[in-house]
C-alpha cells in the first residue's frame, strides 16, 4: 500500500459526502483541513517543574512514544508551540513566569494541566503553592494523577486533539476569582467558618442578608453560565 493506492482511492470511502470520482477528487473546507493538520502535528512545550516532568519524559521516550500522536516535536520556546504541558507544582514564585510564557505562545494555543499539583495544588495545601494553574491561565484539559501514568497523558493529548477538531479552546482562567483570596486561614476551615460568621453578623447589623444569599432582584435573567473550573 503506497501513496499511489491512496491516490487510487483505496482508503477513501467512495460513498462519503465530498468524495467524487471514486476518490480521485475530494472536496472539503479549508477549516477542516487546517484543523486536521493542527491536531495531527501538535508542537508541545513542556513546562516541567517537578515529578510530573519525569513521567513526561517517560511519555516522550521509547516505550510510550508520543510520536504516534504526532506530538513528538517538543519546543522549548513558547513562540514555536501550540500546546503547553504544565507538568508539576507551580508555586507562587513561579507563577509570573508561567503567565509570561503562556502569553508568549501564539494563538491558537491549548494548555494541558498534568497532575494534581498543576490542577489543584494537590496535597500541598501550603503557603507557597498555587492551588491550581487555572488561577492565572486557562486550562483545556486536566489530567489527574500524582503523577499521571503515561497512558492517562496519552488520553489527555487525545482529548486535546478532540478539542482542536471541534474548535474549542478555554479562553479565561477558570478560577481567576480565587487568586489573591489567600488571606489568613484560607485552608483552615475553622478559621474560615469564623470569618464567615463574623461577616454575616456585620451584614446582619446593617440589615443585609449574608453574602451568597441572592435576593430575587439580584438574579438577573440573562446571567451568564458560571464556569465549571
Amino acid at each position: 500500500m503506497g501513496l499511489l493506492d491512496l491516490f487510487q482511492g483505496k482508503f477513501v470511502d467512495p460513498t462519503y459526502p465530498g468524495v467524487h470520482l471514486r476518490g480521485n477528487v475530494i472536496t472539503t473546507t479549508l477549516d477542516a483541513v487546517v484543523k486536521w493538520g493542527r491536531r495531527s502535528s501538535i508542537w508541545p512545550m513542556p513546562f516541567g517543574t517537578a515529578c510530573c516532568a519525569i513521567e513526561f519524559m517517560a511519555f516522550t521516550a521509547s516505550r510510550y512514544d508520543v510520536a504516534r500522536f504526532g506530538a513528538e516535536v517538543l519546543r522549548f520556546s513558547p513562540r514555536q508551540a501550540d500546546l503547553m504541558f504544565v507538568a508539576g507544582t507551580i508555586v507562587d514564585k513561579e507563577a509570573p513566569i508561567l503567565k509570561l510564557i503562556y502569553d508568549q505562545m501564539p494563538e491558537p494555543k491549548w494548555v494541558l494541566s498534568m497532575g494534581v499539583c498543576a490542577s489543584s495544588g494537590g496535597f500541598y495545601r501550603s503557603y507557597g503553592v498555587m492551588q491550581g494553574i487555572d488561577e492565572i491561565i486557562p486550562v483545556d484539559v486536566y489530567v489527574p494523577g500524582c503523577p499521571p501514568a503515561p497512558e492517562s497523558l496519552i488520553a489527555g493529548i487525545m482529548k486535546i486533539q478532540d478539542l482542536i477538531k471541534t474548535g474549542r479552546q478555554a479562553k479565561q482562567p477558570q478560577r481567576a476569582a480565587s487568586l489573591g483570596a489567600n488571606g489568613e486561614g484560607q485552608f483552615e476551615r475553622r478559621a474560615r467558618r469564623g470569618a464567615w460568621a463574623s461577616d454575616d453578623a456585620a451584614r446582619a447589623a446593617q440589615g443585609l442578608p449574608p453574602r451568597g444569599v441572592l435576593g430575587l432582584k439580584a438574579a438577573a435573567p440573562d446571567a451568564k453560565e458560571e464556569s465549571h473550573g
Partner: protein
C-alpha cells in the same frame, strides 16, 4: 522536650573528645551535651558559636571538615525553653568518621547570630534559608536575602505562628540577580527558570565577556512547596508520600531514609526481609537516578540517542516497582518498621529482568559515550572542583566522590545490612565533569552487584515489624479479633508516638547523603523536620564553578551535578 539550659552533662558524654575539647576551650559557654540514639549533640552559648565551629573544624583530633547542614527550629511556648529559636548545625569528619550536632539558642527579642559562612562555604545558603524561613539574622553574612520564598512574601513561614495556608501573590519575578555596573560592556544572560538546560526550575544569571562567564549568580525557590511545614502537620507515616516527591528520580530511596530515621528515633528495627527488599529497590532507584542524570545531561549537549537507549532500563525498573506497590514513580512503598506489603511471588524473576535491562543500558551508555570524542571534549577538564572545596561546600555522593573523597554512607556507616554486601566505592582523580560521569557509571555497575547479592540471599519472614506501637496488625486479624481491631484503631487514631528527642538519620541517596533531622516532642506529629538535601550543597557551588568557564560548559556542569528541584527547594 528536655530543657536546653542547666543540664548536667553525663560523664560518659563528657569523655567524648568533642565535648572535652569544647569544654576546655569554652568553659561556661558550653551549655549542654547529650547522646541520644548515638547522636552526639552539644549546645553552646551563642557568643561562643563561631569559636566552637572553628575549633571543631580545625582541631586535628576532631577535624570536622565536612559541612552537612544548618537549620533553625522554632520552640514557641515550649516549657523549659526561654529562648524561642535554636540554630542547629550538623558536621561530619571524613577522616575520623564521626558526626556532630552543634546547637545554640537564639532569643526572639534579639534573633541574631554570627555567621559561619566564612568558615564553611556551604553555610551561605543555609543561613539565608534560616533567615528566610525563621527570621534569624546572621550577622556578617554577605547577602542575607530571601532564598526560597519570593520578594513579595511577608513574614517567616516556618515559624510556628505562621498559618500554613497563607499565601502572598508575586506579580513579577526579580529582574536582576547580579549587579551590573553602569557602562559595563559585558552581556548579561538570564538562563531559566524555564529553560531546557535547567532541568526544571533553576535560574542562573551569567555575565558574559564574549563567551566566557565573568560572574554568575543562581536563584532557587521556584519549586519550594514546603515539605517541612507540611510534615509538621502530618503523622510520621503521612510524611512518607511527601518524601517520595523530594528526589523524584529515585523516590524509593527518600522513603527508605525517612523510615530509617524514624526507626532510629523509635528504636524499632525493621525485619531482615524488609531491609533486603529495601536495599534491592534502593539500588535499582539509584540506577534509575544515575540514568536520568547521565541521559539528560548529554541531551543538553546534543546527544539524544543515549536518552532513548538508557531510558528503556528505567521502564524495566518502573515495571518492577509497579509490581511491588502499584505505582511507577511515587511509590510510597516503605512503612515505618518495614514495607507496606510483601513483594510479589515472581519478584526474583522480575528483578532478573530489570537487571538484564539495566546491564544492557549500562553497556550501551559506555559504548555511546565513554570514548566518544565530542563527549570527552565537552566533559574533560570542565567544572573542576578540588577535594577541599568539595568538603567545604558540603558536597556529597557521586559529585564528592568524583572529587576524590571516598565517602559513602553505605560503606562508612552501613545501614539496612549494607555491610553484608561486597561492593566498591569508585572515586575520581581530578574532580571534573568526566570524573563525575565515570563515577556514576561505575556506581551503576556496583549497584547491579549489590542487587545480585541481595537477591541471592533474600531472607524469608515478615516484611514489617510486629511492634504494636508502630505497625498496623494484619487485616485478617483486624476483622476477626477485637484486640487487633482496637490496636488498629488506636494506631490510626493516635499515630505513632515516638519518645521526645531528636535524631539525624542519614542514608546514601542517589545524590549523596540524604539526612533527616527530626525533632519529636512525643506527640504524633513531628515538631520539626529538616531535610538535608544533597543537591542543595552541590548546586550552591555552581555559580562559583562557572566563573571563568564558557557558557556552554555551564550547561555541561549543571547536568552533571544532578540538581533535582523537588529535593533542592523541598
Amino acid at each position: 522536650m528536655a530543657s536546653a539550659t542547666a543540664m548536667a552533662i553525663a560523664p560518659e558524654v563528657l569523655a567524648r573528645p568533642a565535648v572535652r575539647l569544647l569544654q576546655e576551650a569554652l568553659g561556661e559557654r558550653l551549655r549542654a551535651a547529650s547522646d541520644f540514639r548515638g547522636d552526639l549533640a552539644i549546645t553552646v552559648d551563642r557568643r561562643a558559636w563561631v569559636d566552637a565551629v572553628r575549633l571543631l573544624r580545625d582541631h586535628p583530633e576532631l577535624a570536622f571538615e565536612m559541612f552537612l547542614d544548618l537549620c533553625a527550629a522554632d520552640y514557641l511556648d515550649v516549657e523549659g525553653r526561654p529562648e524561642r529559636f535554636e540554630v542547629v548545625l550538623h558536621l561530619y569528619s571524613v577522616s575520623k568518621k564521626h558526626h556532630l550536632r552543634l546547637k545554640t539558642p537564639v532569643p526572639e527579642s534579639d534573633p541574631r547570630l554570627a555567621t559561619i559562612s566564612h568558615l564553611f562555604k556551604g553555610a551561605n545558603w543555609f543561613e539565608r534559608e534560616a533567615w528566610d524561613l525563621y527570621g534569624v539574622v546572621f550577622e556578617g553574612h554577605p547577602n542575607l536575602s530571601r532564598l526560597l520564598t519570593h520578594d513579595a512574601f511577608v513574614g517567616h513561614p516556618l515559624r510556628k505562628d505562621y498559618p500554613q495556608g497563607q499565601r502572598h501573590v508575586l506579580k513579577s519575578p526579580k529582574q536582576m540577580l547580579l549587579n551590573v555596573p553602569a557602562g559595563s560592556e559585558h552581556l548579561l544572560v538570564n538562563i531559566g527558570p524555564s529553560h531546557p538546560a535547567m532541568h526544571g526550575t533553576f535560574r542562573v544569571q551569567a555575565l558574559l565577556d564574549g563567551e566566557t562567564i565573568v560572574d554568575g549568580e543562581a536563584e532557587l525557590g521556584y519549586m519550594h512547596r514546603n515539605f517541612e511545614k507540611m510534615a509538621e502537620n502530618r503523622t510520621y507515616w503521612q510524611v512518607i508520600p511527601y518524601t517520595d516527591r523530594l528526589n523524584y528520580c529515585s523516590s524509593f530511596m527518600n522513603g527508605h531514609g525517612w523510615a530509617l530515621a524514624v526507626e532510629k528515633l523509635l528504636g524499632v528495627p525493621a525485619p531482615p526481609r524488609a531491609e533486603a527488599v529495601r536495599v534491592i529497590l534502593s539500588e535499582f532507584s539509584r540506577i534509575m537516578d544515575h540514568i536520568v542524570c547521565i541521559a539528560t545531561n548529554v541531551v543538553d549537549l546534543g546527544a539524544i540517542t543515549p536518552f532513548f537507549v538508557m531510558f528503556r532500563a528505567r521502564e524495566a525498573v518502573y515495571d518492577l516497582l509497579e509490581a511491588c506497590c502499584g505505582a511507577r514513580l511515587t511509590v510510597s512503598y516503605v512503612r515505618i518498621g518495614g514495607l507496606a506489603q510483601d513483594v510479589p511471588e515472581d519478584f526474583a524473576a522480575r528483578c532478573q529482568q530489570a537487571l538484564a535491562s539495566c546491564r544492557e543500558a549500562w553497556q550501551a551508555g559506555h559504548e555511546l559515550l565513554t570514548r566518544n570524542i565530542i563527549f570527552c571534549k565537552r566533559f574533560r577538564d570542565v567544572g573542576v572542583l578540588s577535594r577541599e572545596d568539595a568538603l567545604s561546600w558540603g558536597w556529597a555522593g557521586s559529585c564528592l566522590r568524583g572529587s576524590g573523597v571516598a565517602y559513602d554512607v553505605r560503606k562508612d556507616h552501613p545501614y539496612s545490612g549494607y555491610e553484608q554486601y561486597d561492593f566498591d566505592v569508585p572515586v575520581g582523580t581530578l574532580g571534573d565533569c568526566y570524573d563525575r560521569y565515570l563515577v556514576r557509571m561505575e556506581e551503576i555497575s556496583q549497584s547491579l552487584r549489590i542487587v545480585e547479592q541481595a537477591l541471592a540471599k533474600l531472607p524469608g519472614g515478615p516484611v514489617i515489624t510486629d511492634d504494636k506501637r508502630v505497625a498496623l496488625p494484619p487485616k485478617a486479624e483486624v476483622y476477626s479479633n477485637i484486640e487487633a481491631l482496637m490496636n488498629h484503631f488506636k494506631l490510626v487514631y493516635e499515630g505513632i508516638l515516638p519518645p521526645p528527642g531528636e535524631v539525624y538519620g542519614y542514608t546514601e541517596a542517589a545524590n549523596g547523603e540524604l539526612g533527616y533531622y527530626i525533632v519529636s516532642d512525643g506527640s504524633k506529629n513531628p515538631w520539626r523536620v529538616k531535610v538535608r538535601p544533597p543537591c542543595y550543597n552541590n548546586y550552591q557551588a555552581f555559580p562559583q564553578m562557572i566563573k571563568g568557564a564558557m557558557l556552554a560548559d555551564a550547561v555541561a556542569i549543571i547536568g552533571g551535578l544532578n540538581v533535582i528541584a523537588g529535593e533542592l527547594d523541598r
